[in-house]
Structure formats: structure tokens, C-alpha cells
């Protein structure tokens, strides 16, 4: 009952975020959208678990939170340094800007 | 010493998450903890970073409660911004000095800044953070300084 409402809300939110994911325009918007999507998923798993009456699947929620985190960091690492495992990039001096 | 505390923490986590208290599972738990300790020990040896945890638990809890309140307040503020027809955004990128001694403390501060909607720590530099705010007002600097003090207060005294 109440869970249905929560599920609906989260789904709507996910759809909105999906739009942002598709639209962009920058890379970072998309990364943010993906990360946000992941958080929504974690919540959704939790709520759906409760709704189904079998909330002992929260392992999956934790898994997804972990994946979300690792994935976001990986994406950023890729696109900032364009390869994993490169020597850590040090930014140029701040005053020069880019 | 640290190792034992860490092991106990992991053990508690295992037991809490597991819910099954058969001997075979417990023994697996112990073995798992052993393996984890091995790997983390190797990791510690490999890099120069050690993250000493020098916090006072009780004060930290107190801080957390205060933080929750702050989060609630900022949430409402940003929600107003989102939902209002004009979306009054005044972005700003500015420096915020920190006073924590330990790395962990600094991180707690930085993350707290980010946790409260309206401010995000963007870069960490020597002595200060670069912070971005979405609807900046002069009062923000004071609020942040307040947060800084509270975090420092949770740190244990010790050598830098």
C-alpha cells in the first residue's frame, strides 16, 4: 500500500533522471545521472523487498550501492585520466586555470 | 592493537549482517576475517597512507546528531529552490579553511560539507577546501566555520 506509493515515486524519479542521462549535455551530467540512478535503485530494491514481503534481499541493495560507488569512481578515473592505473594526475597550478 | 579492534569490528559486522549462528558459518566468518586482515595488512605495507583513526567515539556520535539536523535544514532550503518558479541560484566557488589535524578528520569535514545539500566540496588543497554553493549567501561561511569547529572537536588530542 504505502510501499506502492514509494515505488511509484522512485520510479518517476528514475525516469526523470533517465531523461537527464540521455540529454547530457556534458559528460559529467551523465555521470551524475548514473550515480543518482544507482542510489534510486538501492532504495527501490529496499522498498520492493518490503512490498513483496521478503525484505531479506537487502544484500542486493548493499551490493548495488557498492557497485554504484566503484562504478562512478571508475568512470571518472577513465575520463579524467583516460586510462585506469595511470600515474595519478596532478593538476596544473590553480592560478593558470585551463 | 589496531588490528584487534579492526578484527572485532569486522566480526561484529559479520554477525550482524549474517543472522545465522551455526558453528560452520562462524568458523567461515573467522576465516574470512583472517583473510581480510591479511589483505589489508599487505595494502598498508604497500602504500604510505595509513589512516589513523583518532576520534573520540562519543563526541563523534554527538556530532552526527547535529549533522542530521543540519542536513534536514539544508534539504528544505534546497527543495525550496528547486520547486520555486524562479529558481534563485547564485553559484559560487570559494575557499574554506579547515582546522582538523588528522586526514580522517578533514575527510569527515569535507564529506559533511557535501552531505548537506547546498554545498559541495570540490577540491582538497593544503589548508583549505574549494567549495561550491548553489545559492550562496554570506551566512554560509559562518555556518561552515561552525561545522569545522565541531569536527575538530571530535578529534582526539595528539601530536600532529
Amino acid at each position: 500500500m504505502i510501499y506502492a506509493f514509494a515505488i511509484l515515486a522512485i520510479l518517476i524519479a528514475m525516469a526523470l533522471v533517465l531523461v537527464r542521462l540521455i540529454k547530457g549535455p556534458t559528460l559529467y551530467d551523465r555521470v551524475l545521472a548514473v550515480n543518482s540512478f544507482g542510489t534510486h535503485t538501492v532504495l527501490l530494491i529496499g522498498v520492493v523487498g518490503f512490498w513483496n514481503g521478503r525484505p531479506d534481499f537487502l544484500d542486493i541493495a548493499l551490493l548495488y550501492a557498492l557497485i554504484n560507488f566503484v562504478g562512478t569512481i571508475a568512470i571518472l578515473k577513465f575520463f579524467r585520466y583516460r586510462a585506469i592505473g595511470d600515474v595519478m594526475w596532478t593538476p596544473p597550478q590553480q592560478d593558470e586555470g585551463r | 592493537m589496531r588490528l584487534i579492534v579492526y578484527a572485532l569490528l569486522l566480526g561484529a559486522l559479520w554477525l550482524l549482517w549474517s543472522g545465522i549462528y551455526k558453528p560452520i558459518i562462524i568458523s567461515f566468518g573467522a576465516a574470512s576475517i583472517g583473510l581480510v586482515l591479511l589483505i589489508t595488512h599487505r595494502m598498508n605495507t604497500v602504500d604510505e597512507d595509513k589512516v589513523p583513526i583518532e576520534l573520540s567515539p562519543i563526541k563523534f556520535l554527538g556530532y552526527l546528531i547535529w549533522l542530521l539536523v543540519e542536513i534536514a535544514k539544508s534539504n528544505i532550503a534546497v527543495t525550496k529552490t528547486i520547486l520555486s518558479p524562479t529558481m534563485p541560484i547564485r553559484q559560487n566557488l570559494f575557499e574554506v579553511p579547515y582546522t582538523q589535524r588528522t586526514d580522517l578528520g578533514q575527510v569527515i569535514f569535507a564529506n559533511s560539507i557535501t552531505l548537506t545539500p547546498g554545498t559541495v566540496s570540490v577540491e582538497t588543497e593544503t589548508g583549505h577546501f574549494l567549495v561550491h554553493a548553489v545559492s550562496y549567501s554570506a551566512a554560509d561561511m559562518d555556518a561552515l566555520a561552525n561545522m569545522d569547529a565541531r569536527v575538530s572537536a571530535t578529534e582526539l588530542a595528539g601530536s600532529s
Partner: protein, 179 residues
């Protein structure tokens, strides 16, 4: 949402977007699996599909290119193929039992028998693991071999040195950027 994601993949040119959409697709399917009571599968799909798969693809993109540069080909043949295949599948579904019906052949034959036998023979709560690791354990051994094969396959394919930027003088894409 799943359909939108899939269609977006067709149209988007930015490969980064495509890959993240793929991750999203996996994610949504994991959710779908949960609603279909397939929790083990959802777990695996989330870990593998949304996690590993997306990360690997991003790694590939980082080493290759960022957007699609297709020429305009007429999509007639692929569309035809797809339509025919789809039609064949729909044809096949016509005699299928309704979704979720409990007296489908799938539910009345081997399925319930597993339920009867697992408590007696294996005594493990997770039926999926029981079947996976015991009754059909040989399949799982094969699956492990597949993973093994992919692992050493990737090692074999990628074990050479990648080109270091500085050595790569004649690559036209190359810029003398710093690492």
C-alpha cells in the same frame, strides 16, 4: 523504461552515453528480475551487468574512441531480419501458457520435483544454489571454465605492451598530451 533505454542505445551517437545506457539497462533488468522473484539472478545481473560490464566497456572506450561515426547504410536488410525473427518468436509464443500460470509444463514437471527433493537430499534453503551447485553442478563447472577461458583469453589478447604515448610518433590521432 527498458524499451526507452534500448531505443536510446540505437539512436545515440555518443558511445559514452551508449555504455552508460547499457549499464542502466542492466540495472533495470536486475530490478525486473527482483519483481519476477529471481533474486539470485538479480544479484548476479547487478554485479555483472551493471558493474563489471559497464566498467569494462568504459575502459574500452577510453582506449578507443568516444563517439560513433557510422556511414549511412540502408537498414532494410537488418530490419527485415529482425522482423522475421521477431515474428517467428511471436509465433512461438502463441502456444505458450499464460504468464505465471501454475500449470504450465515448466512448473509441473521438473520444477516441483526439485522442491520435494531438496529438503531431503541437500537440506539447503537456497534452492537455486542447491540446483546450481549440486543437481546441475556440472553446468556450473562448465560455466567456471567459461570464465577461466575468458580470463586467459583476455590475457592472451592484451598481454603485449600497449603503446606508450611518447613512442607513438606516427599515430595521427596522437597528441603530445601529458599522461
Amino acid at each position: 523504461m527498458l524499451v526507452i533505454t534500448a531505443l536510446a542505445v540505437v539512436r545515440t551517437r555518443s558511445l559514452f552515453a551508449v555504455v552508460t545506457l547499457s549499464g542502466v539497462f542492466s540495472l533495470l533488468s536486475a530490478l525486473l528480475f527482483i519483481t519476477l522473484d529471481a533474486v539470485d539472478v538479480a544479484f548476479t545481473e547487478a554485479a555483472v551487468g551493471a558493474g563489471i560490464s559497464t566498467v569494462l566497456m568504459l575502459g574500452t572506450l577510453a582506449l578507443t574512441s568516444r563517439s560513433e561515426r557510422s556511414e549511412k547504410k540502408t537498414p532494410i536488410v537488418p530490419l527485415l531480419v529482425v522482423l522475421v525473427t521477431g515474428a517467428a518468436m511471436v509465433y512461438g509464443t502463441l502456444d505458450m501458457p499464460n504468464f505465471g500460470s501454475p500449470d504450465a509444463p515448466a512448473q509441473t514437471h521438473v520444477g516441483p520435483e526439485y522442491f520435494e527433493r531438496i529438503p531431503k537430499e541437500i537440506d539447503v534453503p537456497n534452492a537455486v544454489t542447491a540446483i546450481l551447485a549440486s543437481y546441475r553442478g556440472y553446468d556450473t563447472l562448465g560455466e567456471t571454465a567459461v570464465v577461466f577461458t575468458a580470463g586467459i583469453g583476455v590475457l592472451m589478447l592484451m598481454s603485449g605492451l600497449g603503446r606508450r604515448r611518447k613512442e607513438d610518433e606516427d599515430d595521427p590521432d596522437q597528441e603530445g598530451g601529458s599522461a
